[in-house]
Amino acid sequence: MAIISNATTIADAGAFSVSLGDQVLIKSFVLDNVSSTITLVHGSSGVVLDDTYPFYRFVFTSIHPGTDNIDFQVNFRDGGSAYDAPKTTSSFYAFEGESTDSAFSYNASFDIAQGTGVQGLAGSLGNGNDESASGELLLFNPSSTTYIKHFMAKTQYYNRSNYSQIYHIGGYCNTTAAIDGVQFSASSGNIDSGTIKMYGIKGAAN
């Protein structure tokens, strides 16, 4: 017999059906030739992005674009319906080519100074059959109305020039308005396949 509370199955068949750890899976998207944007907004399609959790983790796995040489990117919603929160960010990368190239550098093409546009998480992503991007984005205390909203990301991917490349991005949404939506996108074309999972980390922030 299942144990159901408020329409949620708590336990069934000798096991808990809900997460018992402090990292809770909120939403999982399996991408199958989806349009170029994936939106996670509070209160829609079971997404929770408020003060229920102080810390959110987005894990993207094997993101495979339909178009070669595109950027995988993110933006945030701070009220209204547009994904245009003002941001200041930094970015750097390291890569090693399958042949001889290598580099470690600040990435001025992927930083933002009080801009409202998308933040790149991976640049010049390849779309060969075995090429993809994986990584994570951490968003701290998005519901705060006192502080700016810090975030950090790292993405390891197959650069179209046959590089193993990693991007590190850090920054903040320079607003005291709550962030209630996150949108991932490809700069061009569809996302053929991949997975995006959104987790909440339990425990109230201050």
Binding site: F16, P54, D111, A113, N141, H150, M152, I201, A205
Partner: protein
């Protein structure tokens, strides 16, 4: 009264049965600052977990342009003064578009030092300014190996910059580390929260 489903005890005596897996990440302790000089984790660090993650939420300093830092204390010892060798580098970018940088920061590393280890630099204290991030401490109860740590913090730099700071190193001791203290290099922690999680 126990709660039994399909022959498996799920709940009994007010707690989840010990035979039930509870997920890899468990919140152990939450410390909240209120004009606090330090935030000290003095219990809960043991051999129960091999990996401990401290998560920083909007730590807001009373003083402007101060370092956020930590130290450890070995089991049975006194004082937060363990020997550390570490590295620190950062990427930064100003709100006015200037100051984009990727630098090793030799002023914030240690070579067998016993001082507090910086993990965020020049944190601003404007009303909406703060530092967030994580520190992972590996296998702190080992009595065979040094104790490695890795931190990444994202802060509002006092010069109106986003700064992403990467710190790594080890406590160069084979004694177990069972206490960690966090503080700013000057002044109190006005507000903010640190949560310590254990990872199975």
């Amino acid at each position: 009264m126990g709660l039994i489903s399909n022959g498996t005890t799920l709940l009994d005596a007010g707690v989840i049965d010990s035979g039930i897996a509870q997920g890899p990440m468990q919140l152990i302790t939450t410390l909240t600052a209120s004009s606090s000089a330090t935030l000290d984790f003095t219990s809960g660090i043991s051999s129960t977990y091999e990996e401990y993650v401290f998560v920083f939420f909007n730590l807001h300093p009373a003083d402007n342009g101060v370092e956020f830092e930590f130290q450890g204390n070995a089991a049975g010892a006194s004082g937060f003064n363990e020997t550390i060798t570490s590295s620190l580098f950062k990427a930064g970018h100003g709100e006015d578009g200037s100051g984009d940088s990727l630098n090793y920061e030799a002023d914030h590393d240690q070579s067998q030092g016993t001082g507090f280890q910086d993990i965020a630099r020049y944190v601003g204290n404007g009303n909406d300014e703060s530092v967030c991030g994580t520190l992972t401490l590996y296998d702190p109860s080992s009595t065979a190996f040094v104790k490695h740590f890795i931190a990444r913090t994202q802060m509002y730099h006092a010069s109106n910059e986003a700064e992403d700071c990467f710190t790594a190193g080890y406590f160069n001791t084979t004694a177990a580390i069972d206490e960690i203290q966090f503080k700013f290099s000057a002044g109190n922690i006005d507000t903010g929260t640190i949560k310590m999680y254990g990872i199975k």
